[in-house]
């Protein structure tokens, strides 16, 4: 598939600054983990049972793994993609080669998947060093987190394809991504929210991503519930892809 050529292009551009990129993308969650997991964790210690048997650090870290992919996936599909679409017009140049809109679309999405893996795997390794996991099954948290991030990337790509300016991103990050990050069960269990908040949180893809990650790492998840979370995330991703291809075709071809 020609989409691999778009992946290769992005990889070459990325190669130039990869060392600092990897370092920074791992450092941020580690700082967060230390400050919140350990610092706040010691304050909630007397009531830690509310966060499950594994304790606050494990609860928060597994939430961060998913939330980090959401933020990273959403970000990769925003300013960097708008730059290629609107400011630098790279896509128009690529279309002059024997590549189509679908190649660009899947190439970009696949590349975002690569960057998500590049952030998730070291983060996961650091969590393992903190002694958070006790079963080899925990490795499944990596694909679960990447699937969550890809869903958000696809949704934001569909939005980016319709935008002429970057103003909407202020709304997106301040009023969608940040509240999701804070209220979808990253910091505290959603059943502490008011009843309407619980329902709202359960509708969000991040909640399902985090539940899935926690299910394979620190909490027990029934097979049925696990499959339901996966089905939700796949549906979210598929809807984003369909909408994204439609919008990008509309933007670049007509």
């Amino acid at each position: 598939m020609n989409a691999t050529k778009v992946v290769a292009r992005n990889a070459i551009v990325f190669w130039r600054g990869w060392r600092s990129s990897i370092f920074l993308s791992v450092l941020a969650p580690v700082l967060f983990l230390t400050a919140m997991g350990l610092g706040l964790g010691s304050l909630v210690e007397p009531n830690a049972e509310a966060f499950g048997d594994a304790g606050y650090l494990a609860f928060f870290a597994t939430g961060m793994l998913g939330a980090n992919c959401m933020q990273s996936g959403a970000f990769s599909a925003s300013y960097p993609m708008m730059s290629k679409l609107t400011w630098e017009r790279n896509y128009e140049a690529i279309l002059a080669a024997p590549l189509g809109v679908r190649d660009i679309y899947f190439g970009e999405l696949a590349w975002i998947g690569v960057t998500l893996a590049q952030q998730t795997i070291p983060f996961f390794a650091i969590m393992a060093l903190f002694g958070i996991f006790d079963s080899p099954l925990a490795v499944l948290a990596i694909p679960a987190a990447i699937l969550t991030g890809l869903g958000f990337a696809a949704a934001v790509m569909a939005l980016t394809a319709t935008l002429q300016t970057d103003e909407a991103y202020t709304w997106l990050f301040r009023f969608v991504v940040t509240p999701l990050f804070l209220l979808s069960g990253t910091f505290f269990p959603i059943n502490e929210l008011p009843a309407w908040g619980v329902v709202a949180a359960q509708l969000t893809p991040l909640y399902h991503g985090i539940e899935l990650i926690r299910g394979v790492t620190i909490s027990n998840l029934t097979l049925l519930a696990g499959l339901a979370h996966i089905a939700y995330l796949l549906f979210f991703l598929a809807a984003g892809i369909m909408l994204g291809i439609r919008n990008l075709t509309h933007r670049l071809v007509s």
């Binding site: 450092l27 967060f32 940040t178």
Partner: protein, 266 residues
């Protein structure tokens, strides 16, 4: 340059600096949402961490008093939002004006000089930070997190913090040439400051080697000053924070003016 006499810098004037503030206000007329939305970030954090996680924290010992977690971390978020604003108005936005949009080159053809530009950008940052602070303090009052009438002094404290932090951020503007440095500054400087300045929990929880380092950072002083005022634990030690922030402002704005002169005249 060697042997040449030190260049005489033009002194800033309030009247001319206000022209830059006016310019920024006009430029933001169409992007007001970017301004309004900045208010919400610390409010979200207050909700999620202050109350969400805070309900599992019984109380926090604070300089001889016991206060609720939300009332402990709320002034920390206020300080963090001052830092965010100072960084945006003192670094990101001036960086683009300096390196990409060449706004300052245009302004310098008018009677407004470089010192006016630096002072004007800091004034703009302080004004915007003050507007956020009024909003956030109102939220704190509404939620019962302001424990003392001393909190009225939090507003001038926010202005002092904003002036110090924005002047510090302007040094970054004057020395940064690569856009990729913005990400590095965020991850290596801002993010650690946000997390480790006694914003979320008392510095007594830090290991012994880390505590003195934290106590040197500007956000620690800003957060401690604001917390003392909103929690109403006021004594002479708060003046130490005022002194730190005041000196930081004076040193940083002087250094910034020098660096900017060097940058734009080389």
């Amino acid at each position: 340059m060697t042997g040449a006499p030190a260049p005489a810098y033009q002194l800033p004037s309030v009247r001319r600096s206000l022209r830059l503030v006016q310019r920024n206000a006009m430029a933001y007329r169409h992007a007001w949402i970017a301004i309004v939305s900045g208010f919400f970030e610390p409010v979200f954090y207050l909700g999620a961490v202050g109350f969400g996680v805070g309900q599992f924290i019984d109380s926090i010992p604070y300089r001889g008093a016991e206060i609720s977690y939300a009332s402990f971390m709320a002034p920390g978020m206020l300080a963090a939002s001052v830092l965010n604003g100072a960084l945006f108005d003192g670094f990101f936005s001036p960086f683009f004006k300096l390196s990409y949009e060449k706004t300052y080159d245009g302004i310098l053809t008018t009677p407004v000089n470089l010192s006016d530009i630096v002072v004007g950008e800091v004034m703009w940052a302080v004004m915007r930070g003050t507007v956020y602070a009024v909003g956030f303090l109102s939220v704190m009052v509404a939620l019962g997190l302001v424990l003392s009438a001393w909190a009225v002094l939090a507003l001038p404290a926010v202005m002092l913090s904003g002036a110090a932090l924005a002047s510090g951020a302007m040094i970054l503007t004057a020395t940064t040439r690569e856009i990729s440095s913005l990400e590095k500054v965020m991850t290596l400087v801002v993010f650690p400051l946000f997390l480790f300045s006694g914003t979320f929990y008392p510095v007594s929880l830090y290991p012994d080697w880390l505590r003195p380092i934290v106590q040197l950072t500007p956000l620690y002083h800003s957060a401690s000053l604001l917390r003392g005022l909103t929690a109403g634990v006021v004594d002479v030690s708060l003046l130490w924070h005022v002194l730190y922030l005041g000196s930081m402002f004076l040193v940083c704005i002087t250094v910034t003016i020098r660096l900017m002169h060097r940058r734009l005249t080389d």
